[in-house]
Each structure stands twice: as structure tokens, then as C-alpha cells.
Symmetry: C2
Subunit: 358 residues, 2 copies
Amino acid sequence: MNIHNFSAGPSILPPEVLEQASKAILNFENTGLSLIEISHRTPRFVEIMNEARMLALELLKLNPNEYTALFLQGGASLEFARLAYNFLDKESIAGYVNSGTWANNAQAEAAKIGNVLEVASSKSNQYQTLPEVKNVDEKLKYLHLTSNNTIYGTQFKNFPETNVPLICDMSSDIFSREINFNQFDLIYACAQKNVGTAGVNLVVIKNTFLQQATADIPNILSYKVHAQKESMYHTPAVFSVYVSYLTLKWMKDKGCIKSLERHNLAKATLIYSEIDRNSLFYGSAKTDDRSLMNAVFYLQDENLEQKFDELCNLEGISGLKGHRTVGGYRASIYNAMPISSVQHLVQVMQKFERMILK
Amino acid sequence: MNIHNFSAGPSILPPEVLEQASKAILNFENTGLSLIEISHRTPRFVEIMNEARMLALELLKLNPNEYTALFLQGGASLEFARLAYNFLDKESIAGYVNSGTWANNAQAEAAKIGNVLEVASSKSNQYQTLPEVKNVDEKLKYLHLTSNNTIYGTQFKNFPETNVPLICDMSSDIFSREINFNQFDLIYACAQKNVGTAGVNLVVIKNTFLQQATADIPNILSYKVHAQKESMYHTPAVFSVYVSYLTLKWMKDKGCIKSLERHNLAKATLIYSEIDRNSLFYGSAKTDDRSLMNAVFYLQDENLEQKFDELCNLEGISGLKGHRTVGGYRASIYNAMPISSVQHLVQVMQKFERMILK
């Protein structure tokens, strides 16, 4: 049976990427050795690391003389702390926009390191809308946002215009749509949604902002050290970097972000139309704030849950359950998700409606 | 051509592990999905994480009621800082034994977080011997050691008897020999030598010592948080954890540490005998301090280097070059290295001697 993988992350990868990654485990580019048992200082791996860093900038249309891309370990959760260690101190204050669970976590971690001001929040309405960000104090050290909220299915369409350096966690929507990435001073994303698989984070940092980072922290936490060492300060997560490299190449082959965005819009339109049309379901997030990556929806009648889950299982639909903290359903439709899987999900939702209403 | 992989890390893995890992990328345990595109909260992956944690304790003969095993991201380099954030503060002092480059790095990172006392050092003789550790001040918060020095090829055979909690970086020799692991309060190891591939670290911590960790640090740095969340505080490096799981199972199948140690001793005896016998080479580390994992050696006549490298290439010997900071050669003979590869290397060294001396 063909499985349709709607997992929120780690999530679906292009079949071409999986095939190449699987081959590389047995025999990496005909070296007779496995990718995962060679030194990370092997010239070919150094090349892959650098190509991946350059490809990331190219896809984001960022000038490699102005921005540095790094592949680091530790997940977005480590970046929550790392960015604060680099840019906050006991005197300065950073602004945080609390638009979801991960935004909230980023803020809480930074609050253990420096001073944090919650500039805007939609916590009081259970993150079903995006908070309005206005009158940003120009004295803030940086303003932190989370572009897409995986759990609640909301996504910023525009970002605040401010002179304060913008830091954005794009873990769940980087490379999915054309925006002006030049407006950000630091972008970070865990790989396991649109950039590859778990174990590595992409960090993209403006060189002028990097200069403001403190050097008075452990090397492993220092963006300056990682940048100086071209992402090879210590042994990188070789396999995860390789999967990111393959995924970035796949994105370029697919026509870069412009083409991926068109594809993502088509998928999102399809699933949201069905959620709105189907009498058994409803979408939770405010319509204007809906995410193109994670469509979150619920059954009008919770008692039908078991039946719908059974049908999904029968129909090869996997990973559709909502986050354990909010329940319901979540169709994650990242770059690698084919439109045929979304069409299939829509058909299954229609079939379920006929089953129940007959 | 059969390649003999002497890489110091990431390093050789058992063929059975590579085959299973490669398969799991395409179809994980007949789920029809790839291991690297499923949620880490999938029941089967949660099971794998827990089995890997239990297997690690079982192989080390540590009581799971007294010790907790974790698989974390960030490499040993992150543990250098993390352990200091957990156990050091501005009032306390930690002792460090400076027996090699990594020991030195661990100490330097901790010195950025708290107070550090160098208890013993062999830096002045280029780490060719192990420093003698004596009269350890009982007021130290912990004493940090590096059991095996990958770059210089030295290895502690015994550890200091002291009431001070012992922390040991066993990145390059864990699971390779039977020692009393109960003498340590915290053991850590990057995976890419004896525990799997890069991207994950094994951290084993005594529960009574864990209780002494501060809670006043970011969650991602807190051993307490990672222990409470059973190594699932955030998305783990799924693939790297899986490779560790397979490697731990392989070690158990091979007869656990006792049997691996016998095998490692045989390999080490073979290569060191040849280094000592062969008139073209010499070993650099003090004989008594030699490592069973990394045999470091040099050519008596440096001018022969190119010729020896060419012969190694022809004979399928890979990864034998010494660390870029010290040059020479290094035969890393970790658990997964078959004795036949060491025999082959010895034959190549003998062949080289005949070529040169003829």
C-alpha cells in the first residue's frame, strides 16, 4: 500500500533523496566506504558541507558576501538558547512575539539568559490568531519571531518593519514561499521539515549582525566560532548534513522557491477548501492567518474520531493526528508532499462524510 | 577492492549495522515509510530510544536504578560546556586532567563557565605520556578526565581513587574494555567511534549526581530536563540514535564488552608489535600509556611519507593519516575493526620495509 505521510516532523522527504541517502550508507559515491564511517574532513565531505551552505543562500536569494549559512547540531531548541547567549546580556533587552508553543519556548529559554520583553502575544486566544506587532521599541537588542506555528497552523504573511534586528525561527516553513529574506538578521530552522532530517539546523546570519555577537561564551555556543570554522568547528552530523544537501539540490532542481511556493499554494487551497466545505470538519485557526504548511482541523463531533482514524489507517494516511497538546488533526504539507497525497486525503474526507451522513 | 577503514572518527561500523541502516532509509521495519521521515513520537521509535538507553547501561554493567543513559545532540563538544553549566558555578572549582587536545578543550570550555583547576597535565611533553593524578583536593566539585586520547594515542589504564565525583569523556574508548564503570558519576561519549555515527552523544549519569545539577539553566542544557523527558525533550537525531541502537545490539550479539576487549587486545598487540619491529617506523606514545584504540606512529624518515601513502592507497588502506595537528599515522582500531584489516596493515608495513630496504 502507498503510504501518504502527513507527519509534522520529522516529515516526508523526496523519494530521490531517500534513495540516494540509502545508497550512500552502503557505498558513498563509489568510494567503497559508507558515508557514515568516513572522516568529516574528507575533501568530498568538506565540499558537500560548503555546497549545502552555498545552496541555502542561493535558494533564499541572499548574497554570500552579506550572509553566512551554517549547519549546526542541537535542533531549533539549542538555537533558542544559543542566539540569546550570543546577542543578549544582563543590560540589554530582547523582544519576543509569542505566537505559539515554540515561540513561547524560545522566549522562556532566552529569559534564563537575559532580559526579555513580550512585544505581542496571542496566548490568551489559544494561538488561533497571530498577534499584531506594533510600536517596536528601537532599543531592543533584537526582535524574535516564529514564522509558522506548526501546532496551531498559523503563519505570518508579513513581518514587522523596524530598525531592530529581526531573528526568525523558520523551522517549519523555510524554503516554502518567496519572501524577502534580506529583512532578517538571523534565520534558523531545524532540518526535519523542509531542509532534510533531524539532527541538524540551518542557521543563516547577516555578517554585520554576527559582528555584534559576544565572544565571551563557550566555543560550541559561539556563532562567530562556527562561522570562522565554516561549520566544521567540531564533527558535524554528517548524515543529516548530507540529507540536507540532497534536499537543497532537489529544491533547486524543482525550480527553486518560486516553483515550490506555487505547488504549496495549490496543496493548501485544496485541503482548506475541503475542511471548509466538509460538514464534519472545521479549521481552528483564523482564516487570514492560516498556515500553508500545516492545516489544523477538528471533527465537529469528537465521538467520530475513532471511526475517522480507522478509515485513515485503511486508506494509508499516516501522521495526520494533531500535536499531543491540542488533539484533532493536522495535515502537514511541506515541500516534499505531492499534490496527489493531498487529493487522496480530500477524497478520504469526502468518503468519510458519505459514510457518516448516509 | 576491499577498503580497510582506519579512520579515527567518524569511523568503521559493522557491515550488519550499515545494511540495516541503509534499508531503514527506504522502508523502516516494513512500515512503507522511511525511518528518517516518521515522527520521533512513533511508538516504535520511542521503544528504540528506550532500548538503546537500556542496552548502553547493560553493556556497561550499570544498574538502571542508579544510572540514567541519554542520547543527546551536540557532540562531545557540547558536553564540555553542558556539564559545566550543570555542575559548576562561580563559587565552586572543578578539577581537570589535561592529557590531550580534547581534555584541554573540555577544560577551556568549562573555564568560560566556572572556576577550573588543572590538577595534572602532560602538555609540556606534547601529551606523549599520561600525567600522574595525585592528591586530588576533596573540595573540587568534580574531576574531569579523558580516558583515551585519540590524537596522541594514550589511554588511562586506571583512574584516580578519590571521593570527588569523576566525570569522564570516553568518546574514543567506551565499550572497548572492561573497567568498573561504577566509579564514574558522569560518562559521556560522542557516538562516531564505538557507539555509532556522528550526530548523537551518549551521556550516562549517576542519579545521585544528577540531583546536584542546577535547574537554573536553559532546558536544552539541563541534564535534569533531558532525564525527566527520557531523552525526548526535543526531536532527537533519529537516524543517529537508530545507528547507535543497531551498534549496541551488535555489541551484545558479539558477546558484550568482555569479548570485544579480547578482540581489541589482539588487534592492538598485532599493530604495536609491528610498529616496534619494523625498522622504518616508531611509536610516539610512552609504551605503558599506549591506547588500545588508536595506535599513533611515525616514519623514522619523513621523506618516505609520500611513498608509504601511495602504497597504502594501492592496498586499500584508508584513513591512516595522523591528526592534522600532529601528522604521522594513526591506526584507529575500534570495536568494529576486524582483525583481518589489522593483519593486512601489518603486511603492508612489512612490504614497505622490503621495498625500501631492498
